[in-house]
Symmetry: C2
Subunit: 346 residues, 2 copies
């Protein structure tokens, strides 16, 4: 704070007693040290007058516990993360913890800044949704013995605690559902990212086709840079429609990609699902209120957030225990945007 804080010394001077005595009284130890009631009262009154604020921080440095969790999310403006943050907060509160949130905006440098800021603020541990190129930061936390749990995204070659959706299986189910409903030229719009969850979503989509007798064609998969979503998605859809045999359906690998895509599909006055069937990752009111409700991969937000807090609590109690790891199933919520193709044409 820029305002000068009242110190024990200020109170001691005003009361005409020693700092040790002030410390005893304000830490509730006056009985042990046999301070007179009158002088204890006087010290407390002066502390109040001067708006003295006990330095809980110094206390926590001694006890090694602050009962605070740092939550690093990848993008606060994505409703998936915002909703999971709310679950983490509620669950942490039930465990007597307060959550401090930082948003890395999918940026490794920002993520490192946030980790440092929060480490220096003595959080007990972290729950982290990792951003691209942040593997080094995760290794760093391990080296420093800082307890953490990775949420939603993890690194297959680093042994950590993590809670995640089974992104491969979720994407496989999304693709297989489109095949089952009669679609044969199925595109995917994903990020151009090395993050494992994105690779898994792409792998699931590809194998859903090849595993169901729909030979995957390389140009059906479009990978967009996260820094230029809008233009990227437009270009991808244009290409998908300009093919000699245009695609008949799209799997969007994230919420943001889907929103950009649906806006552009509206602009083109294409009809969902007649012109293009849609399945998307992510979940949001926008999918419910779209004229043709969107089929989407529903990740178990409540359970993901709850389990992340549970794993972190375990880690705080037993720092040396084996990592806890869990992959959870997503549920495909089937709606009109991926209706059976035959029915669409009647």
């Amino acid at each position: 704070m820029s305002a000068k804080k009242t110190s024990l010394k200020d109170i001691a001077q005003r009361a005409g007693v020693s700092m040790a005595l002030v410390s005893y009284v304000l830490n509730g130890k006056e009985k042990e040290s046999r301070v007179g009631q009158e002088i204890a009262g006087k010290i407390k009154q002066i502390a109040e007058e001067l708006h003295y604020q006990p330095n809980h921080l110094a206390k926590s440095l001694r006890s090694g516990k602050t009962h605070t969790i740092g939550l690093i999310i990848a993008d606060i403006s994505n409703p998936f993360f915002a909703n999971i943050a709310r679950v983490v907060e509620d669950e942490a509160k039930r465990n007597g913890y307060t959550v401090i949130i930082g948003s890395s905006d999918e940026n490794a440098e920002k993520s490192r800044d946030l980790l440092n800021v929060l480490i220096n603020r003595q959080v007990d541990g972290f729950i982290i949704v990792s951003s691209e190129d942040s593997a080094e930061q995760v290794r760093d936390l391990q080296e420093k013995n800082i307890p953490f749990v990775l949420l939603d995204r993890y690194f297959p070659d680093i042994q950590t605690d993590f809670v995640s959706t089974d992104h491969y299986k979720a994407a496989f189910n999304a693709g297989a559902h489109l095949v089952k409903n009669g679609y044969r030229r199925i595109g995917m719009i994903a990020y151009d990212s090395q993050l494992f969850h994105m690779q898994e979503r792409i792998r699931g989509y590809v194998e859903a086709l090849t595993g169901n007798n729909v030979p995957f064609q390389k140009h059906w998969l479009k990978q967009i840079r996260i820094s230029t979503i809008e233009q990227g998605v437009k270009a991808a859809i244009d290409e998908m429609l300009a093919m000699e045999q245009p695609i008949d359906s799209i799997v969007f690998a994230t919420y943001s990609l889907a929103i950009s895509g649906l806006k552009y599909i509206n602009e083109l006055r294409l009809n969902v699902p007649t012109d293009l069937a849609i399945v998307s990752f992510g979940q949001a009111e926008a999918f419910d209120l779209y004229y043709c409700p969107i089929t989407y991969v529903k990740q178990p937000i409540g359970l993901l957030g709850k389990t992340a807090v549970e794993f972190l609590m375990k880690k705080l109690k037993h720092p040396q225990a084996e990592p806890s790891q869990i992959l959870m199933d997503a549920e495909l919520i089937i709606r009109d945007s991926s209706k059976t193709k035959q029915l669409v044409h009647t």
Copy 2:
């Protein structure tokens, strides 16, 4: 952290030198204190081996600056706040500040917890979206001389720095627009809240009617408890439609109210705007992608967030300066959900 941190003492013991010497070296003051190069190098190497982390906190306590802002938002799962958080982060970063976020979930107790947690973590100042019943907390911060700026919501009887939309004017324009477009039985669904911004939205709506020769009827205004939005909105709409002369249009005072309302309107298979015209506060992809794009009050999110950071920076430099206060205009984005009534019926 629960893992034991390396202290200066640990390094001093390992190096066989005094703690003071270690402190000089690690704070870059070896020249002043004429420490030999060899011993300085040894101390730095040991510090690295032991993963020593300088206690920036102790440093900031001395300098009184941490270059960290605490941002308290009312509800992280509301896209308005999530988006404004992103603006505040970007703007703070440009000023060399990191933002730590806490979400109060519209709950005064949680808000107080967060303020305390962040004060104890030595943020330089706060940007706060106040929750109900939190006026006392604001007075408290003033008494403690903690710099802060109120964002979006302020208390008319407390003199503070604030940045807010002119909620009265925004609601007035929304109501007047419906009157102009031929609607004569205009309802509002708002929160049952004493917060000033909500009172202002209600006042603006009422005066838009009375000021435009549409006598306001008390039962057109429905106030919903924030803890039971879904049931509340359903009951409100049921009542509005069951009136002898049903309402022909609704102003939703917040995004969450609108989302619940639109879902229920879909459930009832009512047509927007033929059966019910809609204007809403808040902004989100859901409004764009609705089958009939929703007319909404667009608050100047970018400018609100940017100015809040600017005011806080000013406050940090000149704590004693007069409060900076600004009311910004919202823009009514007119779309099909509030189409002129005559046109609807042809």
